[in-house]
C-alpha cells in the first residue's frame, strides 16, 4: 500500500516537471517550481525522511521560490522566445539518463532489507546512536556528531553563498547613502 502512495506522488511530480519544461512564461515556471518542491517534500515524508522533508519544504520550496520571484522581479523576465531546436540537448540528456538507467539495473530492489546500505554502516547508527549520543532522532545525531564535519562544511557553504551575495549585490557606499540605512 505504501508503495502505491509513493508511486502516485512520484507521478504527480513527473507531470509537474514536464509541464515546467514545456512552459514558456517565466512566472508560471517559478510557481510550478514552488509546487514541485512541495510535492518533493510530500514524497520525502512518504519515504519516511521527515527531517529532509521539512528542510526541503522550508529551505527548498520556501527560500528558493522567494529568491526566484525576487530575481524575476528585478530582471523583469517574461520569456517570449520559443523553445528552438531542443533536439541536441534532449539527446544529450537522454544519453546521460541512459547511463543511469544502465547502472540502475544492477541495484538492489526497493526496500530490500538485505541491500548493502541496510547491512553495513547504518545498523550501527540505528542500534547505538541513541545510546551513545543521547539523541533519539538518529538523523540529528549523525548530522551533528558522527558526520559533524560534513555539516560544518555545509554551514561554510551557506556562509560562502551569503558572503558571495553581499560581494555581488552590495550597493556602493555613495549609492547606498540615499536609501534609508
Amino acid at each position: 500500500m505504501e508503495a502505491l502512495i509513493i508511486n502516485a506522488l512520484l507521478t504527480t511530480m513527473a507531470v509537474t516537471v514536464v509541464a515546467m519544461a514545456l512552459q514558456r512564461n517565466l512566472f508560471s515556471v517559478v510557481v510550478l517550481f514552488g509546487a514541485y518542491s512541495f510535492q518533493m517534500a510530500t514524497v520525502l515524508v512518504a519515504l519516511d525522511a521527515v527531517d529532509v522533508a521539512m528542510t526541503e519544504a522550508a529551505v527548498g520550496a520556501g527560500v528558493s521560490t522567494v529568491l526566484l520571484l525576487a530575481a524575476m522581479h528585478l530582471t523583469g523576465g517574461v520569456e517570449a522566445k520559443p523553445l528552438h531546436r531542443p533536439w541536441l540537448p534532449l539527446v544529450l540528456a537522454l544519453a546521460v539518463g541512459g547511463v543511469l538507467a544502465y547502472g540502475m539495473q544492477g541495484l538492489p530492489a526497493f526496500s530490500d532489507p538485505l541491500a548493502p546500505i541496510h547491512s553495513h554502516v547504518a545498523p550501527r547508527y540505528l542500534a547505538e546512536a541513541a545510546a551513545e549520543t543521547g539523541v533519539p532522532n538518529i538523523v540529528t545525531a549523525v548530522l551533528a556528531s558522527y558526520r559533524g564535519y560534513d555539516t560544518l562544511g555545509e554551514t561554510v557553504v551557506v556562509f560562502t553563498a551569503g558572503a558571495g551575495v553581499i560581494a555581488l549585490l552590495r550597493r556602493r557606499r555613495k549609492a547606498a547613502k540615499d536609501d534609508a540605512r
Binding site: V50, M54, V135, L152, D179
Partner: protein, 150 residues
Amino acid sequence: MSNDLILRVIAKLLMPYMLVFALYVQFHGDFGPGGGFQAGVIAAAAVVFYAIIFGLPAGRRLVPDRVVEAMLAIGVLLYAGVGLAGLALGGNFLDYFVLDTSPVAGQLRGIFWVEAGVGLTVAGVMLKLFAMFAGRAGADKGADRNGEGG
C-alpha cells in the same frame, strides 16, 4: 502594502508565534524533525514577513545590516569553535566526548551548540539574501550600465 491596517495588526500578532516556533524547531531537533537549518529559515521568514509588511527600512531597523553580517560569521565561528574546543580539551577535532564530564552529556552539549551555530548562520544568510535582493529593487533606477552598479 505597508499601510493596510489588517495586515499590520495580523503581522504584529503572528510575529511572536513564528519566532517561538523557530526556537521550538531548533531545540526539538533532538527528538523530532528539526534542527539548525529549518529553524534558521523559519526565524528568517518571521523577520522577512515583518519587513514585507512594514517595509524594508523598518525591517533594517528591526535587524540592522551589521548584526546580520555578524550573525553570518559568528555561526560558523561558533561551530568551528566547538570543534577547536574538543581539540583543546585533548580529543580530536569536533570531539564532543571531552566537552563534559560524562561522554553522553558531552555529546548533548556539543550537538546543542553546533546546531545553534548552524541556526545562526542560516538565519543570517537568509535575512541577508532577502535584504540584498529587496534592497536591489531600488537599484534599477540608480544602477549605471558599466557593471559598476555593484
